[in-house]
Symmetry: C2
Subunit: 299 residues, 2 copies
């Protein structure tokens, strides 16, 4: 089954120890759709400005990603300027954020897209996520969020959590939302807030998955040459949702597989700037690395 | 085959969110020998003062731990006063350290112990570790260290590293020693410094193992009720070395098993104060939890 994703479609300017680069294709929905498109047909919804390069749209199309619900309006595309320091490649430093056309976004989808079975609310403000959700009638909904929305719009985040099946967030966000430092307690707390499945991303330390019926975890795939971690979490969510949408079944087996594929996709993401690596990724490359990973974690 | 361990035998006074407690049996060698004794016959070497309670010696003996090389001399036992705050149960705050008799320690072992095949140099200053090593002629040597020795006696640490087969340390220590934040690069760097096998402990995030021929990792066992993490790393090393000593073979299979047993032993350690849990641990309890862990990490 296909997948519909809403989130930011952005331009990123990056400074990293591996170099600096401008006008990269960025944004939660962009990263997410790259990895998701390896597994299923992806429909992308979001807003861009007139400055958004045609080459980025062409890339989406090349990957088979439906862009009918990307709205292009006068103004500038959401632009993020970030930096990563050698001392801590896992923490992004925001130098500047230009919202551009983002505040003018009123989610709309095509009539065909209204019936899509799987929806993922990638990182964008929770009010927009909720508005988007009211446009569609999916069978399975996943969501992500970020520290900014937890600190400034917590009510909207927790209200949205009641309406989703799967909630993916990172460990620091889980701590912010629940006040719990222990990951098991934190996951239980998040489960009680609504979503049936809780997926806590721990960056270089892997992932922890919790529901009423299951609890499991994997380390991350060990990447030696990290170039740019931007979008690793979105790429992770894309691999997970892409796989779950394809198999169209959510149980322990499919969740374990989905999170392993997610782990592999995000390991490729950090090896290049922006979507450099994930945009040229093939299923065969993923399967090859998955085999290595399964050996890596085997008992 | 049996195992000989040198390290600190101490008294700990602890403040944790779960309560305060005094004169606990502590020290790297004490924690280590508890878990190691589940797998093999353990010989303990270290120094204590006259204030060291008989009940702690009785506990060692009850666990079948040979205490012939624990020297008791006039003066006070090494005493650590520590605190753990709710916000970060994984980071110990040292309130006070009383070295007591530690500076007077001149390692000695019995003539039988000189021939023991497996030796572990648990955390104590690297000069004492080296002196101990010169008293014995083992086939396999493991070592641990801590941030204090890396910052104050780095030369002695790196010199000792050349003489050991296995080096176990935590991720922060690996970073301190190598200047590398990436765990793969850091492990390669440590390998180049001497030890054939590098085991990097990541606390609640699990463990990473590296040698010329292998690379693997596991998450930690998810513990919901952490009472006191003191000695978790030593308990981990004890489970690992105890198992390796028992099977008397170091290859990928035995290392994977050793690190899983180590993971399970340390998960019990954090559930009680001091050695409260590990001193009553049975092989059956370990095997039961290991089964759950293998399911937790299965692909």
């Amino acid at each position: 089954m296909s997948l519909m994703v809403v989130g930011t479609v952005a331009l990123d300017d990056l400074k990293t120890p591996a170099g600096s680069i401008r006008d990269l294709l960025g944004g939660s929905a962009s990263h997410l759709s790259m990895s998701a498109s390896l597994f299923t047909q992806v429909n992308l919804a979001g807003i861009i400005g007139e400055d958004f390069p045609d080459r980025h749209i062409a890339l989406f199309k090349k990957k088979g990603i439906n862009v009918d619900s990307i709205q292009k309006i006068p103004g500038k595309t959401f632009h993020w300027y970030g930096e990563y320091k050698k001392e801590d490649l896992n923490s992004a430093i925001t130098l500047k954020t230009e919202l551009g056309v983002i505040p003018q976004y009123i989610p709309r989808v095509t009539s065909c897209q209204k019936k899509i079975a799987n929806v993922f609310l990638a990182n964008i403000d929770p009010v927009t996520q909720a508005k988007f959700l009211s446009c569609v009638s999916p069978k399975f909904v996943g969501m992500d969020t970020m520290n900014l929305w937890i600190s400034t719009m917590k009510g909207a985040v927790t209200s949205l959590m009641k309406k989703v099946d799967l909630f993916v967030l990172n460990d620091a966000e889980a701590r912010m939302l629940t006040g719990e430092t222990n990951i098991v307690k934190s996951a239980k707390c998040l489960r009680a807030m609504g979503p049936k499945i809780i997926v806590i991303k721990k960056g270089e330390h892997g992932v922890f998955c919790f529901s009423d019926k299951l609890m499991f975890g994997f380390p991350a795939f060990p990447v030696e040459n990290v170039v740019d971690p931007t979008g690793a979490g979105d790429t992770f969510a894309g691999g997970m949702m892409g796989f779950l949408s394809k198999v169209n079944k959510v149980n322990e087996k499919s969740l374990r597989q989905a999170l392993m594929y997610a782990t592999i996709c995000s390991s490729f993401n950090v090896e290049g700037f922006g979507v450099q690596k994930t945009s040229i990724l093939t299923k065969a490359m993923v399967e090859k690395r998955l085999k290595i990973f399964i050996k890596f974690i085997s008992a």
